[in-house]
């Protein structure tokens, strides 16, 4: 393989245990040539950001279906900023439409709710990472 794999830190925040979706996504990202640092459930903002830091993550992906993302994601975004880290941040799981814009306004780059396909997530990540490297070179 000639291209460097995109590194994605993927975890479930709070006490949400429904991890089937996130595991399937992890595998899908692997099939798409990415390195997925799979954190599993029970993550807090600190543990996600800690991992994103040492793993030099290109993407931070938060999975949640219980609504807890509403308390954790803003913390994650602000802690990343505090450490001067700028990975792509995406949120997946059960996110009602009315919450989407709020997350984007906070600084989340992409929201993948119910029924999102793996292909759409892969495409989005590749596009966002490419855009960011182009911006850096400029």
């Amino acid at each position: 393989m000639n291209t460097t794999p995109i590194r994605v830190v993927l975890g479930k925040v709070g006490l949400d245990m429904h991890d089937i979706g996130s595991k399937v996504v992890a595998r899908g990202l692997r099939e798409a040539g990415m390195e997925v640092i799979y954190l599993g459930p029970f993550q807090t903002a600190d543990s996600v950001v800690g991992a994103a830091t040492t793993e030099d993550a290109d993407v931070v992906a938060v999975s949640n279906i219980s609504g807890e993302y509403a308390t954790y994601v803003p913390e994650i975004v602000s802690k990343l900023r505090d450490r001067d880290l700028h990975p792509i941040v995406i949120v997946g799981g059960l996110v009602p439409d009315k919450d989407r814009q709020g997350l984007i306004d906070l600084g989340v780059d992409g929201v993948f709710g119910q029924g999102s396909t793996i292909d759409s997530i892969v495409e989005f990540i590749r596009g966002a990472v490419a855009k960011r490297s182009a911006a850096r070179k400029a």
């Binding site: 006490l15 949400d16 089937i20 595991k23 399937v24 807890e68 439409d97 919450d99």
Partner: protein, 542 residues
Amino acid sequence: MSESNAASGVTWSGIPLKTYYGPPTRDRNYETKLGDPGALPFTRAGHAEMYRKRLWITRQLAGLDTAAATNQRLRYLIANGQTGLAIVPDTPTQLGLDSDHPLGARSVGTQGVPLCTVEDMDQMLEGIDLRGITASFSVPGASVPVLLAQLLAVADRRNVPWDELRGSFQNDPLQATHTCYDAGTPLELGMRLCVDAMEHCARHVPGFHPTTVNAYDLRESGLNAAEEIGVAISMAQAYIEETLKRGPTIDQIGPGILLICAAHIDLFEEVAKFRAARRIWSRMMREHFGAKDERTCRLTLAVHTAGSSLVAPQPINNVVRGTVEALAAVLGGCQGLDLSAYDEPVDLPSEQAAMVALRTQQILALEAGVANVVDPLGGSWFVEELTDELERRAVAVMDEVAALGGMVAAAKAGWLRRLMDERQWQLQQSIESGERPIVGVNCHQIPLEQDTLLSFRGEHPKPCAEQVEIVRTFRRRRDAGSVRSALTGLKSRAESTSENLISPIKIAVEAGATMGEVMGTIRQAYGLPYDPVGAIAAGSTI
């Protein structure tokens, strides 16, 4: 549907119906493979009359953000004909954490009812006659002994003898260990607590089913129909074997175990699956465990229609899916049924959706006539062969588990984890590729703007701050000294590996110890961290 309702003995047009139909002569093949309904090996049905005598127990899952709110919902459902209570505790309770735990507080009351203290249990059951209902708790993990203790404590307060209590827990550590519901509780501790509950009920709470092996979540994890029952029955076998070591007989233990299966969308396969499960169970009890009582050989089946088969696009179609699945459960002869509400893909059931689910069952039972005859599909060449095939495949799975040394060894070796991961991936692929058609998702789709989204609340419940306060107030009012001494007693009992912990847990709960404090103490006794997610220190809440 109260117990006085039963299915009809005539068709709509007045044709009288037998209770069940069979071949003109019963040959050996019939007797050994099928048996009449209510007779070994129970393939056709657990009871001779089934719904002609009494309809299945309808339960809709209930679990709102506080015990008080849940109490209101339960009373509403009972008043509208529900005969059993199906209670879902919230995630912190399921994991053995308190409502005010740092992570717990962000999800308290959002996915079920918080049952942190004995007062929560009491409040939730206020004004409900414990003698007149069956209460099933959807709790797979290690917190079961605490909830059992809370329930028994409430029964004592109301002077209800324990042998009049009816209900069930899941109490399924093998399943919990694969779905993260056992946070901080390794399998050996989970098994110990599970068997403590089983032994205690076998001896002292005989009307209660302490263990409901959760075949449903296995299926939801992607396993197919044969694997669902093969793995679940292997799990039951493991629990039985461990409990037998404590002394009770198979005839004391056996009737205490239920299976909760999925009813998925492939109608005939599901009916055949239920029939095969009954036959396998009966043979296992008789031949493997040497059960003497016929009742031990009779599998009691609770069914939950498959939540994963419901989808968000064109949601009203979920009512159709639920109906087909409920039909499978009825034709398959289940004893209890939970019908997933049509808004399941995005929400906890709204009142309206819960009502539609209840009415669906009432229509099936009272209008459609599908409950009038026991095992109506029995004798169909198709269904009989399908039953045999499912039995063959399920037994092959059980043999594979046995070759690994039993389900506990298989779990530790990661066998089930690998199977589930593989099936989940295959399922997702088959949906995305369209190989498995799902109407509205990968075929017959309509644009989002044209979709009728009904009255989705479309909002995640906020964590219940009120419950956090309720627990804090409870702590302030209790006697810290009694709590500490009860927990010290519990810890030393837990450290000696053999004594049943239900009694010391009950003492602690009655002294005012909370869920997290009891579970934390037990974990410490096992050399594990007090708090599975490492957020609070031992004893810091007392």
